[in-house]
Structure formats: structure tokens, C-alpha cells
């Protein structure tokens, strides 16, 4: 159920991105909250609002990691003209390190 809803919501936002010009504006839809929208409804029904509140707090950190990821990928593709798939796939590791690093830092700061 979760996978089906997720697939449809993600595709709907991707389709919207395909329809819009210029490309930089269409790119906004590459960071649409599609996975979150599909997940939150089902999670609230199953686990409650408190659980989703905690997830959303972490999602802020995930978004900051996404910003770093997309900025680095954009720079590498525009300036260096590197092939897309290796760059976008390898940089996922950057997102992971950044997201977990931010989460760990927040844990330490919060005590």
C-alpha cells in the first residue's frame, strides 16, 4: 500500500516537473515532498501524530543535506560537464554522510 501510494505521488510530481519550463523552475519539483506526503498520511493513521512530528523534525535535517547534495551535483554537471548517472548516484553518499552528521550533531547539542 505504502509503495503504491508513494510511487503514484512521486510520479505525479515528476510529471509536473516535465510539463514546466524553464528547467531551473521545473527542477523545484525534483525536491517536492512526494515521499513525505505519501508516508505521513499512512504513518499518522498507524503510529499517531507524535511519531510523525519526530520524523518531520529529522526531515528538516534531511532537507539541508538534500540542499548540499543538489548544489554539489549542479556544480559538477554545469561546470565540469561530468556524466549524470555516476555523479548523481555517487553523491547520494554525500547526502547520507551529511544527513547522519547533522542528526548526530543535533543529538550532541541537545544533550
Amino acid at each position: 500500500m505504502r509503495a503504491m501510494v508513494g510511487g503514484l505521488v512521486v510520479s505525479a510530481f515528476a510529471l509536473l516537473g516535465d510539463l514546466l519550463k524553464p528547467k531551473s523552475f521545473a527542477g523545484l519539483f525534483g525536491a517536492a515532498p512526494s515521499v513525505a506526503l505519501a508516508t505521513i498520511v499512512l504513518t499518522v493513521m498507524k503510529e499517531g501524530k507524535g511519531y510523525v512530528g519526530i520524523e518531520a523534525r529529522s526531515m528538516v535535517l534531511g532537507s539541508l543535506a538534500f540542499f548540499l547534495y543538489a548544489s554539489v551535483v549542479s556544480r559538477l554537471l554545469i561546470r565540469r560537464k561530468l556524466p549524470v548517472l555516476p555523479v548523481t548516484s555517487t553523491a547520494i553518499a554525500l547526502w547520507l554522510v551529511c544527513a547522519l552528521g547533522l542528526w548526530y550533531t543535533m543529538q550532541r547539542v541537545a544533550g
Binding site: V10, P22, G27, G30, A56, A65, A70
Partner: protein
């Protein structure tokens, strides 16, 4: 720059590309749920902003740009379809970077408002927050870009001491614009 709807992109896409997106999106959503179940909501929440579909989308943009390039037969020395494809995907990634600021706004609204308000209202408000924030950042960047381009244009057209205008290039028609678009 004017925002417009263009259906030509839809004609370039094949049915299996749409299917791949549905599968990717579904897998990521299911994985986010499984990670939250295994490691708790704090780690699981990070994956609500996971850029998993982005590599697939960017690869499609690169492929479509190459196809368009071959069709138009505009290949020049040093400007291959691959390079154009990378640049187009790079511009899309720049848009995604701006969209991720909106994604943080979405998460903030859900985090701060969900415990006290109804789910539907919060999700509509959060999605609006994502769009308004992303579009505002995009507009702000466009304004800065236009201003910088105008400054460059004015600098290149400043009359020298002999009063003759040199390098009268219209910035709106400048070739540099292509990579920005």
C-alpha cells in the same frame, strides 16, 4: 523569465520511463517506512528528504537533451550532446537545490503544526509552504541573475573615450543564456 507549460517533454518520454519512476518512488517510500521501523522515527525522518528519484530524473533529462540535440543536428565541435545533457541536468539540479529549501519549510510546518492541528489542513499548508518558499527562492535567484547580466551588458557597452560603442551584444540573446535555461 516566464514560467510556462510545455507538453513536448511528455512526448519524449516512453511508457517504461514512467513505470520506472513509479517503481523508484514506491521503493523509496517503502524503504523510508522500513528504516523508520528498524531505526526509529528520528533516523526514518531523514529519509523523507532522500533524493532517491533524482538520479533517475536527471538521467532522463540528459537522455532527452541528447536525443533533442541529435534530432536538431546542431552538433558543433566541442559541444557534444553529452555535454549539453549534463548542463541541462545541472540546471535541473540547481532547481532541486532551491526546492530543497522549500522541503525544509514543509518539514518545519509539519513538525510545528501537526501535533495541534488536523492532518489534512497541516499537509495542505505544508505543501503550500514548500511551493511558495521554493518559488520565492527561484524568483529571488532569477532577479539576481537578471541584475548581474544587465551589469555585465552595461559594462561591455560602456562607451570608451572615443565615444564609439564596442561589443554591442544584447544580453537576452547571449549564448550564455542557454545553459541558464
Amino acid at each position: 523569465m516566464k514560467i510556462k507549460l510545455d507538453t513536448s517533454g511528455l512526448r519524449q518520454s516512453r511508457w517504461y520511463e514512467y513505470l520506472a519512476r513509479i517503481l523508484f518512488g514506491g521503493t523509496v517510500t517503502a524503504l523510508a517506512g522500513l528504516i523508520a521501523k528498524r531505526f526509529g522515527p528520528e533516523i526514518g525522518g531523514l529519509f523523507l528528504a532522500f533524493p532517491a528519484i533524482f538520479p533517475a530524473t536527471a538521467t532522463l533529462i540528459e537522455k532527452h537533451e541528447q536525443q533533442k540535440h541529435e534530432k536538431q543536428k546542431k552538433e558543433r565541435a566541442g559541444d557534444s550532446g553529452t555535454k549539453r545533457g549534463s548542463a541541462a541536468a545541472g540546471v535541473d539540479a540547481a532547481g532541486a537545490a532551491m526546492g530543497s529549501i522549500g522541503l525544509a519549510a514543509f518539514a518545519l510546518v509539519v513538525w510545528l503544526r501537526l501535533p495541534a492541528s488536523g492532518m489534512s489542513i497541516v499537509l495542505i499548508g505544508a505543501t503550500l509552504a514548500w511551493f511558495v518558499t521554493s518559488a520565492s527562492v527561484w524568483e529571488f535567484r532569477e532577479t539576481l541573475w537578471r541584475r548581474a547580466r544587465r551589469c555585465r551588458f552595461n559594462a561591455s557597452n560602456r562607451p570608451p573615450h572615443d565615444g564609439v560603442h564596442h561589443h554591442a551584444v544584447d544580453p537576452e540573446r547571449s549564448t550564455n543564456r542557454r545553459s541558464h535555461e
